[in-house]
Symmetry: C2
Subunit: 366 residues, 2 copies
């Protein structure tokens, strides 16, 4: 692992998106979204993914200069056609529309069709916070997850993010895949040569397994809960809900038709919609009660739960968003650790776009 | 178990609510909500709970003639003060407001404060279906669930329901507690003298346990996922989200301050809001795309997932709502099975209100 200065990585990413043709403002937002993923510890969704976006763009499966259009709307809703743009661009654009609608109608809800991978769900939800709004964000994704009782990979990890503002406390931020774990955790076990707990994945026939490589051998990820006895059908419900809001409501591809993020897999030959889909929401807090009153009660909620009695052997009880915020502070100070493979990827991208990705002390931790 | 005719039970329940002073229309709706729980197999939320509502009313912790008022609103939102009414009455009232708002603003969102237990979450969400709307329903509940890493009972089973209309297919209906299992499943194991799977509950110190009586011994239920390794922190996030939408946004009691449903437990001496809270939403499908187009795509989604390949040893893949709908058909035909204790409870209620709950063949299955 090599530590890199967060600002240097963000600047490099932004320049690279500019080289692809992204307008300046869009390149800046897309880079910020990847950078926030790295700072928050979602390493799989940060600069590690940059070369993936580039490959999709090279294959013309991603449009760097999308002409995004609202194709239908009401006072509190809209459908945005992302014109096959970066989800890192279409989702923030949709969120701004949702926020604008919430100002007038109390809430705003924007379904996005014809988009691509949008980075971390939490980034878009958190955009609402500075407006004293609650932000909601979800997206469907490449199918890797089997519905309960099935061995078919029909759902993505389909994340949900919800961000609530607080007063003196930091905001309360949920950002979770609707599977038991993210794929990245399996990769960590593979590197360590360790088995996975039961309930994370199943093999290609749908049997329970602890094989950390099961997914690569044709198996599938399990919805949050794992098997039926442990409530896996509820995780299936959540993943399905995200798929329907993101794609059936917006007119994007759903279920097994979701185009894969990885460039080495071809998109399905038939389509039931356009691109992948997202669903973004903004709820003006004072459409319900005065913002200060709500936020002060959020402080009480957070304080109360933070001071809940730890279970035997535990030190403290966490509030959603705590670990990511703490890591952000640490990584802003000490830098973002990148795998050698990611560093090689970035160097290669630098050569391709004549951007010169430098591995030297100045670009590393300050 | 004794089988009873569904209509007879509904009629009895409705009359009983009338005796408590409920207006006729409200009594009918409240009875229908309990009846739907019995038909759908959520036996803990049907007539089995009737005596509980009566006891709360006797203690004046529930108001049978509430003066429900909208205390704040915008084009797409409202806060309803339930005046300590039956949740079985305040939630459907709130849902009608949400549906009316959705007609004009595209979506409608109503937070309810000062309410009581509202039965099954799915009932209220499903009200949206006949209007070609998506229905959303959530509520907080008596604290029995510990946040991840804690042994404090700070959350309820806090259910989420979402109902999507389809075209030729039956509607897609999610109705799930945000815990691994409902309390009723523990009671089933207790009756059978069986242990519970790991991940359902923990003991009073926060240790993993398979003791089906752990909850009665001061332990707590675990959020969906169970322990941290299996994603229990995600279930904690979901339960917290429901608590915040239902109560922090509406001005009801949240976390450990939620008043208990059972009459033998006193409500907490301090309050942070009024009563318990719900959050109801209605989304007009054609605020996004033509209803027929959406519903036809829902049919494709449902058909696709229903025909997913079963895992080894499984017969078929279910769609959310399938088991409840199949059971409803069966119970409408053969009757609703009631435990002897529930039958005794209903007889006692009959004597108290001079309603004569009859256990004879005519009231049983047709």
């Amino acid at each position: 692992m090599i530590l890199f200065d967060s600002e240097y990585l963000k600047e490099f990413t932004s320049k690279l998106f500019r080289c692809m043709g992204c307008p300046e403002e869009q390149a800046r937002i897309a880079a910020d979204c990847l950078n926030q993923a790295d700072l928050r510890g979602v390493d799989s969704h940060g600069v590690a993914r940059l070369s993936g976006y580039v490959r999709l763009w090279e294959l013309k499966r991603l449009n760097a200069t999308p002409d995004m259009k609202i194709v239908h709307e009401t006072p509190s809703t809209a459908v945005l056609d992302g014109d096959l743009g970066l989800g890192l661009v279409t989702a923030p654009h949709a969120m701004r529309i949702a926020i604008d609608k919430a100002r007038i109608a109390g809430t705003g809800w924007v379904a996005v069709q014809n988009s691509n991978h949008y980075g971390i769900a939490g980034y878009h939800a958190m955009m609402a916070l500075e407006h004293d709004m609650i932000g909601i964000s979800m997206t469907n994704a490449s199918p890797l997850v089997a519905p309960t009782f099935s061995k078919s990979r029909y759902l993505g990890t389909n994340p949900i993010a919800v961000a609530f503002p607080a007063f003196n406390q930091p905001p309360f931020v949920i950002d979770m895949a609707t599977t038991t774990v993210a794929n990245g955790k399996l990769e960590v076990l593979q590197r360590k040569g360790m088995d996975a707990p039961l309930g994370w994945t199943q093999d290609k026939d749908g049997n329970p397994t602890t094989d950390a490589y099961s997914l690569k051998k044709g198996g599938s990820m399990l919805p949050l809960g794992g098997d039926r006895d442990h409530g896996g059908h509820k995780g299936y419900c959540l993943g399905a809900m995200v798929d329907i809001f993101s794609a059936v409501l917006s007119g994007a591809n759903y279920g097994p038709w979701v185009p894969p993020f990885v460039s080495f897999l071809e998109p399905p030959s038939t389509q039931v919609g356009k691109g992948i889909g997202h669903f973004l929401g903004a709820i003006r807090v004072d459409a319900f009660r005065p913002a200060k009153e709500f936020k002060e009660n959020m402080d009480i909620w957070i304080n109360t739960f933070r001071n809940a009695e730890p279970a035997l052997g535990q030190e403290r009880v966490l509030i959603p968003g705590d670990p990511e915020r703490e890591l952000t502070i640490e990584r802003q100070k000490n830098g973002i650790p990148l795998h050698e493979q990611v560093v090689e990827d970035l160097k290669e991208l630098g050569r391709k776009f004549r951007l010169n990705f430098e591995v030297n002390p100045e670009n590393q931790s300050k």
